[in-house]
Amino acid sequence: MRGFTLWVTGPSCQNNSILSRAIEEELLERGMKVELLNIDAVQSCLLGDSDDPLVSINEGMKSVGFIAHLLTRNDVVAICSYPSPRSSSRDEMRKLIGRFVEVYCECALDNLKKQGISMEEWNAYEKPDKPEVICDLEKEGHEECAHKILKTLEILGFIPPSDDDEAYSEDEEDKIRQRLQDLGYI
């Protein structure tokens, strides 16, 4: 399976992080090589010494994007959940990485306030124009959002489809029936 980058963006880091972790676990369960690049995982080793938070965020994002690029081209799934308020910066990452899926995680202003996010930060965030997936954790819940993302990845051909066909083929069923009769189970 080829690698790709799932870039989870939105004004609420908390929501992005929750959703990223859910997708990470789902893909791990499917036996894929996955790395999660979130602010907690990379802050200590990737951020520069600058005291200016915006400089730090931009530097950090570039570093995360570069690592995601390396992982992707080595057939690892990189899930990036890192503050990336500028649309143009995310577009640069899309160009750099190529196999790139952007998930926009919406968050209502009231919930942002509850999470301690200021109006200034809210205003600084630039929504993506054409994200592959739009999620609203509060409205849709984790499971539905994760399902939507996974289905999108399947449709785009980034991950193998989960097989919903529940039956054996006719020929297989005949063999199984005979076998179970031989074994006394039916």
Binding site: E25, L28, E29, R30, G31, M32, P160, D163, D164, D165, E166, A167, Y168, D171, E172, E173, K175, I176, R177, R179, L180, Q181, D182, L183, G184, Y185, I186
Partner: protein
């Protein structure tokens, strides 16, 4: 924390491992002496499917939504499906382990075909139609298995119900040797946090050879050359297990489990013949020769109940508004079922003695009842008798099985033997639940036990 190896012995029975042959099985006995042993109470019903999946998910058959190998898909009369891995919607221990970056080797666990991806390797079980299909994950492992197993890895013995006992015995040995060799090679050539091997040989040998060693079996043959067939096979299995143990590290933990036990089968109750006699089942035309009952033979306009054979009986009601030609008024369903169960529990042996049948209503024994359960699940003579589905047998009691020789039935209690070297245990009861295995595995790896698992961990935190 070391690795955890789970050795599954389908049908291994506590009376033989813990008592009768205890001194002949130094490795199994040693694990228990160093750690703990208990009888392991199975699912209702105690059958390979659903028992192994119940063990690996800590969910009962009702939650899982399958009640045996073959299940009703709808209330149509002939709409059945075989419960393969695609029907397993609950998470197994290796799903949780994969999520937590733990690597697993899942080898021969029933109901894992078709194989689903995981972090590790999965070799599916005897429910794979053949080796021609993709039965491993990753698929390349199939060729490796053949290579290790002297050119021909065996998923199962080919023809289990045979009178050719020499051939059957040899086949069981060949299968087991190949499977242990393949497992051992795969296990020790890579690093797996968790590994489980399920060996089916004990189940096959119990069904094929029980009459030769059990003095209480109706068909016991005192001077049979197979008198020690089962005992010797247990001894060989114990040696193979010993070889695995020798290769484990000091910190590694091991569990030996079985999904159910075995007991002498007195005979078979021809459940559909009994239903005909009692007036519950009416056939369009009664066959004169023993014939497997097919639903097209049933006159559903006159039938209220029909049954299926197997190691336990599944009874299906023909209910108005539910089945296409339903006969039992829906509002009388419960009273009908109570009356029917009383009849069922009064079934007698050929001498007129009540055999002690136990009947279960699914909603009373499961936490949920998903998909379509039988209306009644019955242990005929408390599993001393199996259920034969054939009609035209001319009798209700049969002493040779309708689908070929079979000496043993399944028993509700299997085995649990565990040794967690650095560990301490919670209070281990004489009888633990099959649902306690998955929580214990997760707990060992420090993974929080999901609250919806039915069982509890048997180890304390310091084991980790």
């Amino acid at each position: 924390m070391g690795r955890l190896l789970v050795i599954g012995l389908d049908c291994a029975t506590p009376q033989l491992v813990f008592d009768r042959w205890k001194n002949l099985l130094p490795n199994l006995t040693g694990i228990g002496d160093r750690g703990r042993r208990a009888r392991l109470f199975s699912t209702v019903p105690p059958i390979t499917v659903p028992a192994w999946t119940a063990m690996m998910t800590s969910k009962d058959p009702g939650i899982l939504g399958f009640y045996g190998f073959r299940n009703r898909k709808s209330y149509e009369y002939e709409d059945l499906y075989y419960a393969n891995a695609k029907y397993v919607k609950e998470k197994t221990v290796w799903n949780y382990l994969s999520r937590n970056r733990k690597k697993s080797l899942v080898f021969g666990v029933p109901q894992t075909y078709p194989p689903k991806p995981l972090n590790g390797v999965l070799i599916s079980s005897f429910l794979a139609p053949s080796k021609e299909v993709e039965f491993t994950y990753p698929k390349e492992i199939a060729a490796r298995l053949d290579e290790i197993a002297d050119g021909d890895y065996m998923i199962d013995v080919r023809d289990f119900r045979t009178e050719d006992k020499d051939w059957l015995l040899e086949s069981i040995y060949v299968m087991t040797e190949k499977r242990f060799k393949a497992f051992k090679t795969l296990y020790f050539e890579d690093e797996y946090d968790f590994a489980i091997l399920v060996e089916m040989g004990i189940d096959r040998i119990h069904h094929g050879f029980w009459r030769y060693f059990d003095e209480n079996h109706r068909l016991y043959e005192p001077n049979s050359p197979y008198v020690n067939a089962i005992r010797d096979y247990y001894i060989r299995l114990d040696q193979l297990i010993g070889e695995l143990l020798q290769m484990l590290g000091e910190d590694d933990a091991v569990m030996v489990v079985s999904d159910h036990g075995a007991k002498t089968m007195i005979g078979a109750i021809c459940i559909n013949e009994w239903l005909i006699e009692k007036g519950y089942l009416v056939l369009k035309e009664k066959p004169t020769q023993p014939t497997r009952l097919k639903t097209e033979m049933i006159d559903f306009e006159k039938t209220t109940v029909w049954g299926e054979g197997g190691y336990y009986a599944r009874l299906f009601f023909n209910v108005q508004g539910r089945e296409p030609l339903g006969q039992i008024p829906a509002e009388e369903y419960e009273s009908f079922r109570d009356t029917f169960i009383r009849d069922l529990e009064a079934i007698q042996d050929e001498n007129g003695k009540c055999i002690g049948t136990r009947a279960f209503k699914p909603e009373e024994i499961y936490h949920q009842v998903n998909n379509i359960a039988p209306d009644v699940i019955a242990y005929l003579g408390n599993l001393d008798w199996r259920s034969a589905g054939s009609v035209g047998t001319g009798t209700i009691h049969m002493f040779e099985n309708d689908t070929g020789p079979d000496d043993a039935n399944h028993a509700e209690e299997g085995i649990l033997i565990m040794d967690f070297p650095s560990g301490s245990y919670r209070q281990i009861q004489d009888v633990q639940s099959i649902y306690d295995i998955a929580p214990t595995i997760l707990d060992y790896f420090g993974i929080p036990v999901p609250r919806d698992m039915l069982g509890v961990s048997m180890i304390r935190e310091e084991v980790r």
